[in-house]
């Protein structure tokens, strides 16, 4: 109880202290997770559409693999990406390790399966008459896909939000590939983990609450863009 109360108060102090270091951290977090989410969506939503709307041998297998990838631990992603971009790895010369780009690469790998799999779920429940109607009215494949994706937008929106939540709250990859270097790749979550390691629990939770307030603000924005109708049911 104490912890929560103290942390809430500290979170306020932090938020209003205007501490430049904190601002940097927040900015890095938002930038990295925002870019990861956008890239993963640009890739995962069309992939979800393609998988949902095509018939091919082994489709069930692909779906099972996708679902399996949802259980990919951050340590594995971190290590695999690491082995490619480390100084001695194939892409070592690009000097990606311990940069924000490295975090983005890892996070994209982390959430592409999530976005894809949830998009498939959302898209495949869309009445097949939408597809037929779009096609008979003269839509080409791309235009038809757009119609379907628009009809599934609430489900897809939920997928994107879940993915964003996943990456902004993510620690392992940011730690391993970003390195938690102060001023460079320190994010809200790695900062939090650090405070935890130090035993500064109040500060850790306060940072967490700051993160939540920011996530709340972003979700408000998102809801605003997703429009009124999306949630009207019954």
């Amino acid at each position: 109880m104490d912890l929560l109360v103290n942390s809430v108060q500290s979170a306020f102090l932090l938020l209003f202290s205007g501490d430049p270091e904190l601002l940097t951290i927040v900015w890095v977090s938002l930038k990295v997770s925002g870019i990861s989410t956008v890239i993963a969506s640009l890739f995962g939503i069309p992939a979800g559409f393609l998988i949902a709307y095509s018939h091919f041998h082994g489709k069930r297998f692909v779906l099972t693999c996708l679902n399996t990838l949802l259980a990919l631990p951050t340590v594995v992603i971190g290590l695999l990406v690491y082995s490619f971009i480390a100084r001695r790895g194939i892409f070592g010369s690009l000097e990606l390790l311990y940069t924000q780009k490295a975090i983005i690469i890892g996070q994209v790998i982390l959430i592409v399966p999530l976005v894809t799999s949830l998009s498939i779920a959302a898209i495949s429940k869309i009445d097949s008459r939408y597809r037929k109607t779009a096609l008979t009215l003269g839509a080409n494949q791309r235009q038809m896909a757009w119609v379907i994706i628009k009809e599934a937008r609430y489900g897809i929106g939920a997928a994107v939000i879940a993915a964003f939540g996943r990456v902004i709250a993510e620690i392992g990859i940011s730690m391993m590939l970003g390195g938690n270097a102060r001023g460079f790749t320190r994010t809200m979550t790695t900062a939090m983990a650090l405070e935890y390691d130090k035993g500064e629990f109040v500060l850790a939770v306060a940072l967490g609450l700051t993160l939540m307030s920011i996530a709340f603000a972003i979700n408000l924005l998102f809801h605003f863009f997703q429009g009124r109708d999306a949630i009207d049911v019954v």
Binding site: D127, Y130, T133, T136, G138, V147
Partner: protein
């Protein structure tokens, strides 16, 4: 020829839904497509709209064999539009739905505006451009689907039950629209319908489907009946609650307890008030409806069941059939077909 289908089948999970030896559809004509529920009308229209592939057989469209590659399909689909039996609308206002077909064809905003307005006016939805398409009433929704199709001015319009759920006034309007675009723009039209009486006046040809194949017999005067008892050379079957029909014995080999019969409307004969006859099946009923069917006259008799009879104009005038009248008529043996 607009369409030529040969040896075409469509099979869903081992059930053959369509099995057409040959079917040609001419350009610039109106076809009415009829048949019992599940006969395969919608399935056929979906194939004609290139939204589905036949299991076997081929479809030729304007002389060319239809190929199911993306580009070829897009090209063909842009010439043909299908109006669904239970249409679905894109989430959004009525306007956007109608605009869709024009938008995907890359037509300019100004022209879109004009065409959408015109067509909404035409189907009587001019007051609802901003209404939510999903909240329309049954008939409004049907008319929106038609509007969506009309706006792209297709060469071929396939309509699945365009007048079902539509009110009387708008049924007239829709039929007039179909007639109009056929006459003025030479649009070829296929209309699936259960209300042949309506469509008959505009259709140049009537196609009847029965269990997925073309049939000669109209799907009317079909009744379930129950075997009652056997007499010397015929079998008595009861239709409905009270009407007994006698079937000639050559037809009744291995007949089960329940069966279905079809009575050919053209063979029903009205008898003069005092006539004598050898026929087995002589029935009496009231005349409840008479209507014109091109050069023929259709007459509905209520004799416990509702029977339709088709007469030539001459026979009609000669018989002087009047509504409300009680008349005696007979069903010659050859008019009754066991299905």
């Amino acid at each position: 020829m607009l369409y030529e289908l040969s040896r075409l089948t469509r099979i869903f999970k081992e059930r053959t839904i369509l099995d057409l030896e040959h079917l040609s559809i001419e350009k610039g004509k109106i076809y009415a497509l009829t048949g019992a529920n599940g006969a395969g009308k919608s399935t056929l229209l979906t194939l004609l709209a290139f939204l589905d592939q036949p299991t076997s057989g081929e479809i030729r469209f304007c002389g060319e064999r239809v190929r199911y590659g993306r580009q070829q399909l897009l090209h063909a689909r842009r010439r043909v539009v299908l109006v669904d039996q239970y249409p679905i609308h894109f989430t959004g206002p009525v306007w956007k739905n109608v605009e869709f077909g024009l938008k995907v064809r890359g037509i300019s905003k100004k022209l879109r505006q004009k065409r959408v307005e015109e067509v909404l006016e035409r189907v009587g939805l001019e007051n609802f451009p901003q209404a939510d398409a999903h909240k329309l009433s049954g008939g409004e929704s049907k008319r929106l689907a038609l509007a969506r199709a009309l706006v792209v001015e297709p060469e071929v319009l396939l309509c699945d039950e365009p007048t079902a759920n539509v009110d009387a006034e708008n049924q007239e309007i829709i039929l007039n629209i179909l007639e109009g675009i056929n006459r003025e723009q030479q649009t070829s039209i296929v209309v699936a319908t259960h209300y042949l009486s309506q469509t008959r006046r505009l259709a140049h040809h009537v196609l009847v489907l029965e269990h997925g194949s073309l049939s000669e017999t109209m799907n009317e005067n079909i009744f379930k009946c129950e075997r009652i008892h056997k007499e010397e050379d015929f079998l008595v079957c009861r239709v409905g609650k009270e009407v007994d029909i006698r079937l000639a014995c050559n037809q009744v080999q291995g007949l089960e307890q329940h069966c279905r019969i079809h009575i050919d409307p053209k063979s029903i004969k009205f008898l003069a008030r005092d006539a004598q006859t050898q026929e087995k099946n002589i029935l009496t009923g009231h005349i409840v409806q008479i209507e014109q069917d091109q050069d023929f006259v259709r007459c509905t008799i209520d004799c416990g069941i509702r029977l339709h009879a088709v007469l030539t104009m001459d026979a009609y005038l000669q018989q002087q059939l009047m509504i409300g009248e009680k008349r005696v008529f007979c069903l010659p043996d050859t008019s009754i077909l066991l299905l």
